[in-house]
């Protein structure tokens, strides 16, 4: 009997090629998307789950609540807070400081610039990364030890047998760590002995660990004072804590708050008389969830937003839903054509449940065929997707039985859900009625089918609105006025490893070169602002204080970056107090936002004095100019108060603007950098690359989203086309009668177009509120965002209508042109 059903299913698929194609093509593409999304989401959820014993492991993170500013969430933890928590809170078994630093590594006469992970000696006992050589408790015991990954061992030494080999490490000089003219201090490096080899980490981890050395080492660049007293600075420290089994994270956080309250005097920081824990708020994020956090600054590797994963999953479901609706609609619409077969089966004694199982089997067979096609599509697509995502997703059927089983089970579930409604409708046909009407009984509720079509269009329209808004927002953020010029700008980093004199002379040499418009030194440059200092200032004679960023620059910086001067003058070497070494009575620039916060107009601010309170000493600074706001932080930031001053000891970046002969300028830069000592690790990059990098993830998500949405819409249109063809066929007689009664071609086309327009218009009513609700929330994540005007909704609705019309139009015209005699004979 099953064989019989299968024959029936196969022949019917072959006989009705168009409908078979629509069903199978729609389901295949939908399944491909769904599986792709499933393995991507699974990969994202798999981060760090491969590590043993992480159930009680957390990352301790601080969020700064500076009065008058939005919360500033870090993925980091001030060094002394973690140290104190580890020694004072009994519920904490162990802590591990993890600090990735860009350093220079020399081995066998070659120099490499690598990320070195600087950790507590107990690191491998807290986070149990797999060692292929060495014991977790011992590898970092010695001050001069270092652990390499297998890949790094091959890269540095050409082989895996590296225990006992030595390398030298240096660079990453912190501000104030060396005296300005102490050249030996800047070029210092330290010998380390390889004590262990780490198995290469898979891609799905939050950690960076190619070179791991203990923070007891002489080579650790972080000054002791920051480790002891940097209570309110993230300083790039990821803080991991292992709780005792059964310990309550909330109790631990209250204990951390008590430590912070005892140790930090926010009054001294100018925040007023408030407990420090109200400003420095701490969180514990479970180790395995770290990858799924978003909006925190200072993660070792990029994280993913759970909202994005949820959105992607929802799109996967919607695509499958759209394909299922096609299947249900086409199957029930055409049920009439099968009425005779169904009636005969009933007369032959088939029970209803036998018919139901037959139709379910047909649905299952269709989705299984689709699955086979989907899997082969997937095979050819995966390499492209891997390249697009930059993540090896991989799908090995044999090695991953669980995945394959869930794909097959999921597919069967989809088949059953697709088949259930048609099976119910078909099996309900009354045999006498079916046979009386000569095998074309009206079947299935037209209302249900109409509702399904409306639902399908609603999904397409809502997704269409979302695509329009997402792309417009990305474009908007990309093209917004950043308050500075970023084109033709080359940034040189790593100059902190050079003596201060060398930094200045480098700027001078390059400025004189061909194709160079100008140079400027600074602590931070746009899109690279991790090193920015935050402090609190008070207008002389005023009561309240405000938090501000302090950016150290050479006088040429504002004009080099094309920042607009709103009032006063720029800094200049010709004014002694502009460039004096001390802070007292120093001339500074502020930005417009700071003037606003101080309650001053740009003109009114010039000549006023402010005190920097963070140090506890009143140091009056004089405002000589006000700049327009510049958005240095990137996409999601608002303008923050900023103060610009000259402080040669703190420059970390050298900006070079090109003009004219670019290649001459670049070869001069490269030549000059090569002439520096090799272990300094000074490199250059284009600011435009950094800028594009900011949007890469947004754009990638946008493109992925758009691709899936287009697919959903195409599948929906396929179904619509099938339904239109079917409806028109069924209406051949009606059209014939209308023509005999005098209807012209345009009348008939108009009639058919109106019939398809009604569900599209109804779909807008469903789609618009849903899309508005989601997108309104999504846009809240962007401080600079587009207004959610009606145009997006109207455009998506109009596009849906146009697509629906185009789908139906051609077929209708052809049908309406047939002779009415032929049309009437068709029944």
């Amino acid at each position: 009997m099953w064989r019989h059903y299968l024959i029936m299913a196969a022949r019917s698929l072959v006989k009705h090629k168009l409908y078979g194609f629509i069903n199978v093509a729609g389901l295949s593409v939908a399944l491909t998307c769904a599986i792709l999304i499933a393995i991507f989401v699974r990969d994202q959820l798999s981060y760090d789950s491969w590590l043993p014993d992480t159930a009680n492991l957390y990352r301790l993170e601080v969020t700064f609540h500076i009065p008058g500013q939005p919360p500033f969430p870090l993925a980091l933890c001030p060094f002394p807070v973690l140290t104190a928590a580890g020694s004072q809170i009994p519920a904490i078994r162990a802590v591990a400081h993890v600090v990735p630093e860009p350093m220079t590594v020399s081995a066998g006469g070659r120099v490499f610039h690598e990320q070195v992970t600087i950790v507590d000696p107990n690191f491998f006992q807290v986070i149990r990364l797999p060692l292929v050589a060495g014991r977790p408790a011992q590898v970092l015991e010695q001050h001069d030890s270092i652990v390499l990954s297998q890949t790094m061992a091959r890269k540095l030494f050409g082989g895996a047998d590296v225990i006992g080999r030595t390398l030298r490490i240096g660079g990453d000089i912190w501000p104030d760590a060396c005296k300005p003219d102490d050249a030996a201090c800047f070029s210092k490096s330290h010998t380390l002995v390889v004590t262990g080899v780490l198995r290469d980490l898979p891609h799905n981890t939050q950690l960076v660990a190619d070179l791991v050395m203990p923070n007891t080492s002489q080579a650790d660049p972080m000054p002791e004072v920051d480790k002891q007293q940097g209570w309110t600075s993230g300083n790039g420290v990821s803080g991991y804590v292992e709780l005792a089994p059964g310990a309550n994270p909330r109790d631990v956080l209250s204990a951390v708050a008590r430590i912070v309250d005892r140790s930090v005097d926010e009054g001294k920081m100018g925040m007023g008389d408030v407990p420090a824990s109200s400003i420095d708020e701490f969180h514990l994020t479970p180790f395995r969830d770290v990858h799924l956090t978003s909006g925190k600054i200072g993660n070792m590797r990029p994280t993913v937003s759970p909202a994005w994963l949820a959105g992607l999953t929802a799109i996967g479901f919607l695509i499958v839903l759209v394909a299922c609706i096609n299947f249900m609609n086409l199957t029930t619409a055409r049920a009439g054509l099968r009425a005779r077969e169904i009636a005969l089966r009933r007369m032959a004694g088939a029970h209803r449940r036998q018919l139901v199982s037959q139709f379910l089997l047909e649905a299952a067979a269709t989705v299984l065929v689709s699955l086979v096609i989907a899997l082969s599509l997937l095979e050819s697509l995966l390499p492209l997707v891997d390249r697009f995502l930059g993540v090896p997703l991989g799908l090995s059927y044999l090695g991953d039985g669980k995945l394959l089983a869930s794909i097959v089970a999921g597919t069967m579930l989809i088949g059953l859900s697709c088949g259930l409604y048609p099976a119910w409708v078909l099996s309900r046909l009354r045999p006498a009625a079916a046979l009386r009407t000569g095998g074309s009984a009206q079947t299935g509720s037209g209302l249900v089918r109409a509702a399904l079509v409306v639902g399908q269009f609603a999904v397409s329209i809502a997704l269409g609105v979302a695509v329009l808004v997402v792309f417009r927002q990305i474009q908007f953020a990309h093209g917004r006025d950043w308050g500075f010029e970023r084109s033709d700008m080359v940034v040189i980093r790593g100059i902190e490893n050079l003596p201060i004199q060398t930094r200045e002379s480098l700027a001078t040499i390059l400025k004189a070169g061909p194709g160079v418009a100008g140079t400027a030194l600074s602590t931070v440059v746009p899109f690279d602002t991790d090193a920015v200092r935050n402090d609190v200032v008070r207008l002389e004679g005023a009561a309240g204080s405000i938090a501000t960023e302090i950016i150290d620059i050479t006088p040429s910086f504002p004009s080099l970056y094309g920042m607009r001067l709103l009032a006063g003058r720029l800094l200049s070497k010709s004014y002694g107090n502009d460039v004096s070494a001390g802070w007292s009575d120093k001339n500074i620039l502020i930005n417009l936002e700071m003037a606003h916060r101080l309650g001053l107009s740009p003109q009114g601010a010039v000549g006023r004095r402010i005190d920097v309170e963070g140090s506890g000493m009143a140091m009056p600074l004089k405002i000589v100019g006000v700049l327009s706001d510049a958005m240095f932080d990137g996409v999601r930031s608002e303008a923050r108060p900023a103060l610009f001053m000259v402080d040669p000891a703190r420059y970390l970046r050298l900006s070079v603007r090109l003009q004219g002969d670019r290649s001459a300028a670049l070869s001069l830069i490269d030549h000059t950098l090569r002439s520096l000592p090799p272990n300094t690790g000074v490199t250059r990059y284009f600011m435009s690359d950094a800028f594009n990098g900011l949007f890469q993830e947004d754009r990638r998500q946008g493109e992925m989203f758009a691709a899936f949405v287009v697919i959903a819409i195409v599948i929906a249109c396929l179904g619509l086309f099938g339904l239109a063809v079917f409806t028109a066929e069924r209406r051949t007689k009606e059209i014939g009668i209308r023509k005999i009664s005098g209807a012209r071609l345009p009348d008939i086309v108009r009639l058919m177009l109106w019939r398809i327009s009604a569900p599209v218009l109804a779909a807008n009513v469903v789609a618009w509120p849903a899309a508005y609700w989601y997108l309104h929330r999504w846009l809240q994540g962007y401080p600079f965002r587009i207004a959610l005007g009606p145009s997006y909704f109207l455009a998506a609705g109009a596009a849906a209508l146009a697509i629906a019309w185009a789908t139906v139009y051609i077929h209708t015209v052809r049908l309406a042109r047939t002779s009415p005699v032929h049309a009437l004979r068709s029944e």
Binding site: H4, A343, R345, G349, Q354, R430
Partner: protein
């Protein structure tokens, strides 16, 4: 074999009420060959559908093989139908997607007590008997009307029903082929199968033992041609 007592059938829609059968009393004995005649819309097909348990009466009694079945469930009727009733239609009602063999096989598919081997044997036997065995692998569209009706008859008799219901079996056939079909039906009746046939053709009705004339849902005359 079967008896209808005061049986009526009313079709209701929201606006109109149509009486298709009006207090029909009819008794058909085992082995009888009954022809039902009447103008279009007189209720012939409704009568046949009710007799064939494809439709249920609005009122009255329907006794089949000693059981009053008017209130039976769809499942019970389905069981009774598949073991006792075979159908032949004017438009043959063969399934386009199935070949001749499979179309006939369909009638036995839901008989759990018939093994696959038996089923195949019985289908072959029925096809041979109807002289269409050589077209087993063909699809219905590839056959002539007469051949299609033979296949339909093969399907109707393959389950060895006691009652064969024929709804204008010769309506779509030319006269020679129509005669052949009537011969076949007579043969089947001769072997003991009860036949109820709806027809417009007086000559074909003459093959029956008894002719029932319907008008506006009621039996107007019953003419017995010969004793069973």
């Amino acid at each position: 074999m079967l008896s209808l007592k005061h049986l009526s059938k009313v079709y209701r829609t929201t606006e109109v009420e149509t009486t298709a059968l009006r207090a029909v009393d009819l008794e058909i004995g085992g082995g009888e060959f009954v022809a039902v005649m009447g103008p279009s819309g007189c209720g012939k097909s409704t009568l046949l559908n009710i007799v064939g348990m494809l439709d249920s009466p609005s009122s009255g009694e329907y006794w089949f093989a000693g059981h009053e079945i008017a209130g039976w469930s769809e499942g019970q009727l389905s069981e009774l139908r598949k073991n006792s009733v075979g159908f032949i239609f004017q438009s043959f009602n063969l399934v386009d997607e199935l070949n001749v063999f499979e179309n006939v096989e369909l009638a036995l598919l839901y008989h759990k007590d018939v093994s696959t081997r038996d089923r195949k044997a019985r289908v072959r036997e029925a096809l041979e008997r109807m002289k269409v065995a050589h077209r087993s692998k063909h699809r219905p569209q590839q056959l002539s009307g007469g051949q299609q009706q033979r296949v339909a008859i093969a399907r109707a008799v393959v389950s060895r029903p006691k009652l064969l219901l024929a709804d204008e079996p010769t309506g779509n056939l030319d006269s020679a082929t129509g005669e052949e079909v009537m011969q076949l039906l007579t043969e089947l009746n001769g072997e003991g199968t009860t036949i109820v046939m709806v027809t417009h053709s007086r000559p074909h009705a003459e093959y029956a033992h008894r002719i029932v004339d319907l008008l506006d849902g009621a039996i107007v005359t019953e003419k017995v041609r010969m004793a069973v």
